[in-house]
């Protein structure tokens, strides 16, 4: 098992740095992960990350990019401006949930 220490907490992560225990996550940890990825979090970034986290915690799966664009309140174009290296991937890592597995 891989661990990583952020904000004085030892976190269980996978090889790519995704938290394996969403309950270990705090907003400060999310900010720290974002900083590591070179993302400066704004309110709009948080809209996406909060949506992903809530969806994961309530359904057990991260939303598809289609659902992210339709239901999060942030349209696809803006999603890619906020997270240029892949919105679903980046936002789920910041939101402290496992990497999404779908193809869409």
């Amino acid at each position: 098992m891989t661990t990583m220490t952020l904000e004085h907490t030892t976190l269980e992560v996978d090889a790519e740095g995704y938290l394996q225990k969403p309950e270990q996550w705090t907003r400060a940890i999310g900010e720290a992960i974002a900083r590591e990825m070179g993302v400066t979090m704004t309110d709009r970034h948080w809209v996406v990350c909060d949506f992903m986290r809530e969806r994961f915690l309530s359904t057990g799966a991260a939303p598809s990019i289609r659902s992210l664009g339709k239901d999060s309140g942030v349209p696809i174009k803006e999603l890619y401006q906020l997270f240029p290296k892949g919105p679903a991937k980046m936002a789920s890592r910041i939101a402290g949930i496992p990497k999404p597995h779908g193809c869409i």
């Binding site: 598809s64 289609r66 696809i76 193809c103 869409i104």
Partner: protein, 151 residues
């Protein structure tokens, strides 16, 4: 991988989706994408046609429908309808929505000049998301330094 250029050359539903899924998936990984539509693949960006793409029920052995049955009137519409229902359940968007989604994600869409000339089409036949009508040479220049996938 930093860049991929995907060619879509077929106009059936099952001919178009793989290229679109590859393009969308590449953008989701942060990979730069060029999508080049050629021959009947251009139907996927043709305003008059892209809502009406059908599964090929004749000459498509993987489907398991005998050719003579596949050729019956309404067969293609029926199988297309069934496949669309299944896709919706899997959260795979219909072609028009998918193409817009991919363009919004920053992928660049192009139509093939040779095919446009052959089918007597022009810019106005295509959806607004299409960047330009380009030649094969333009395509290779654009694809330079990345991978090319033909579908």
């Amino acid at each position: 991988m930093d860049k991929v250029s995907i060619i879509i050359s077929k106009g059936s539903l099952e001919g178009v989706y793989p290229g679109l899924i590859l393009a969308n998936g590449a953008r989701m990984e942060g990979i730069e994408v060029n999508l080049f539509f050629t021959f009947f693949g251009m139907d996927a960006i043709n305003k008059a046609k892209y809502e009406h793409l059908k599964v090929a029920t004749v000459g498509n052995p993987g489907l398991g429908i005998p050719t003579m049955v596949g050729g019956l009137p309404g067969m293609s519409a029926l199988v297309t309808h069934q496949m669309e229902k299944k896709m919706e359940a899997l959260d795979i968007p219909p072609i028009p929505e998918f193409v817009t989604m991919i363009a919004d994600s920053g992928a660049k869409l192009y139509a093939c000049k040779a095919s446009v000339d052959m089918f007597d089409l022009e810019r106005s036949n295509f959806i607004d998301e299409v960047e330009a009508i380009i030649t094969v040479g333009d395509f290779y220049r654009m694809a330079d330094g990345g991978q090319i996938i033909f579908t």
